[in-house]
Symmetry: D2
Amino acid sequence: MIADEDIQATYRSAGFCGAFELGRRPAVVVVDLSRGFTDPACPLGSEATAEVERTRGVLDAARSSGVLVTFTTIAYDEAARRTTAWLRKVPSLRELAVGSPWVEIDPRLGRLSGEEVVVKTGASAFFGTSLLPLLVAAQTDCVIVMGATTSGCVRSSVVDSVQCGFPTFIVTDCCVDRAAGPHAANLFDMTAKYADPLTAEEAVSHLERLRSSRDPHR
Amino acid sequence: MIADEDIQATYRSAGFCGAFELGRRPAVVVVDLSRGFTDPACPLGSEATAEVERTRGVLDAARSSGVLVTFTTIAYDEAARRTTAWLRKVPSLRELAVGSPWVEIDPRLGRLSGEEVVVKTGASAFFGTSLLPLLVAAQTDCVIVMGATTSGCVRSSVVDSVQCGFPTFIVTDCCVDRAAGPHAANLFDMTAKYADPLTAEEAVSHLERLRSSRDPHR
Amino acid sequence: MIADEDIQATYRSAGFCGAFELGRRPAVVVVDLSRGFTDPACPLGSEATAEVERTRGVLDAARSSGVLVTFTTIAYDEAARRTTAWLRKVPSLRELAVGSPWVEIDPRLGRLSGEEVVVKTGASAFFGTSLLPLLVAAQTDCVIVMGATTSGCVRSSVVDSVQCGFPTFIVTDCCVDRAAGPHAANLFDMTAKYADPLTAEEAVSHLERLRSSRDPHR
Amino acid sequence: MIADEDIQATYRSAGFCGAFELGRRPAVVVVDLSRGFTDPACPLGSEATAEVERTRGVLDAARSSGVLVTFTTIAYDEAARRTTAWLRKVPSLRELAVGSPWVEIDPRLGRLSGEEVVVKTGASAFFGTSLLPLLVAAQTDCVIVMGATTSGCVRSSVVDSVQCGFPTFIVTDCCVDRAAGPHAANLFDMTAKYADPLTAEEAVSHLERLRSSRDPHR
């Protein structure tokens, strides 16, 4: 079940490990690409220009095919900052205060006003949020995940996505982390156990194919 | 199991139906006492002056005993307004737009800045929100619910509270509804099946007793 | 928003209150039609022969159209019996012991071995169960609910269904309760706020129409 | 925030990274130490004798102090086997059929009849299960996790535990995995971000201290 990434690529091109089918009603979930994680000036941030640009490419393909695009951001108000157990473990998350620029979605992603920003106080995009009802109401048939950090919120969002019943895909070169080791280890776990890997190019190509074959889903 | 309210009062004073014990670490959850529900000028609103005043009394007792106070409000942004299934059933909820005065907590309740406002898009205070982690982190040992509407969000919040494992209490004379029949029918169901009833006076008296016997919990 | 049942019928036939569309991939969720609720010999049970027979008719239509059929049952093992908060409020639920005949699905419903029985310890079919992933994985586009009791587990399941994002329908003459007042009051609330009503006949007719127009979904 | 294990040990002994306090009402959650994961004869299993023996030591200390002990096991019935999305990704999980010996808790752990076995179909002990209500009803003030596999169900259970609001601990030498790399990488992530590490010896010592200072909690 567990194999290194080269082996996995080999398997995949041979038709193995391609557990899930990309559907006709995907939803793109962009996890925590807020300024706090994409601007190295924030203690939580990393240099992520290449990943942000690739993500923008995927989003533009999704938009022109009428595919649902959703963002998440972590943000704590005063009360949540005092009570959230996770903050005792990762105090630097306190930087992500409601109203702070760090919680805004990275402007390079060109978020449109109709694209939901799901605010969360935990790691998973699904935990204690309204993401699931939104995906269900849109009759989503698969979920495509990307964002930051690979070893944190992306990982837990991917696990919840497949637990919720969605065929789940991870765009590996649109995932950001602050350290190479955990980034690789978590891509490995995710693609071995929870999600099928896509490159940004593959994601764009699938999303563009949908354009000709369907009407925008809303 | 099911009895009319008089019978239930009789049972309760005889020691029946008093399923739960009020604990030493209660949390007070005020459901949807936003202007949208307490101002008759809003299509969703009702005249609720007496209930709001009684609720303020309960909150003041909670505050001076250091008891956790939490509010909920329903609010939809543009994307949620377009996708939320529930809005197709109850279109008037669309009035509750993020940023609108209707989603503000009724100022007569004197909310303090450290008191969390849990924003929700569903009926239950627990569904898709961070209320549960907040209650768990505060080591809550019972939940006291009040608010609007008795037959809607209060009912579903009470059911979720007991499902989550909390001994649950409903302050019957701090519950607001737009119609007397559903109000009574739902108090009946809730007190028969899910929660023990308290009057505002009983709630205040319990909360004040905590003041002498404990330190504020945070 | 709230109207009595006659008014609602009028509105519905005039095209009002028909919030949701019956989709092509419905799931039928039968709540708690276990012997414990359908056999008057159990303290929790009611005489429910007519409702069970109508439910069987709906299920047979679903089966011949390849529509997903799912049952729920409440069952407590020794540990759950000791810890579940809800049991302190409704001690008679303790009758529903794992392995007891009361927790078996009523045999008159003819459950097939491939039809899931979701075991729950709370009121809602969705709370703490694997029902949601099952519905998502089957790409369910609407949920049709029936069962027992109208004022208990059916009500809370319907609320969770619409909160999860599913267009939700309640088969009113396939709902069972032990008392007429709460039955009517909860049908009223549900159809006013959370679900569109169907008769068994309407449900059968919709499910049969699917047969000619689609392949079984699995 | 991220450091290798030696550095973390150094930090911890210096009082850093000791985010959480072990409380007086812990719950011990043993993830998936069923025969399927602890018997190398099962395709999913590993040699885990040492970890199982250490876990037994922790459980015995918990039992003699009256601390809540809970197990999880993965088990699929016929319907779940057909519908669960995760099984398309990890087909070997199909071995874990309801009623099969693989789903039984490893007998070397000496499970008592009052100790709950939470049955799950997903990775996390909390997802779609009744674990949370059980912990809340027992007024749990911290969660101690161990089991299999480190890089799978243990990881996702730990993330959910802290997301639910519980100070969370991981007994590192009671965690089992089928491969050393993912085991280490996931212990690293978990202890950096979600839980404080304990050795079995530290866990036993804390649990034994509780015996003298408190009455069993139920």
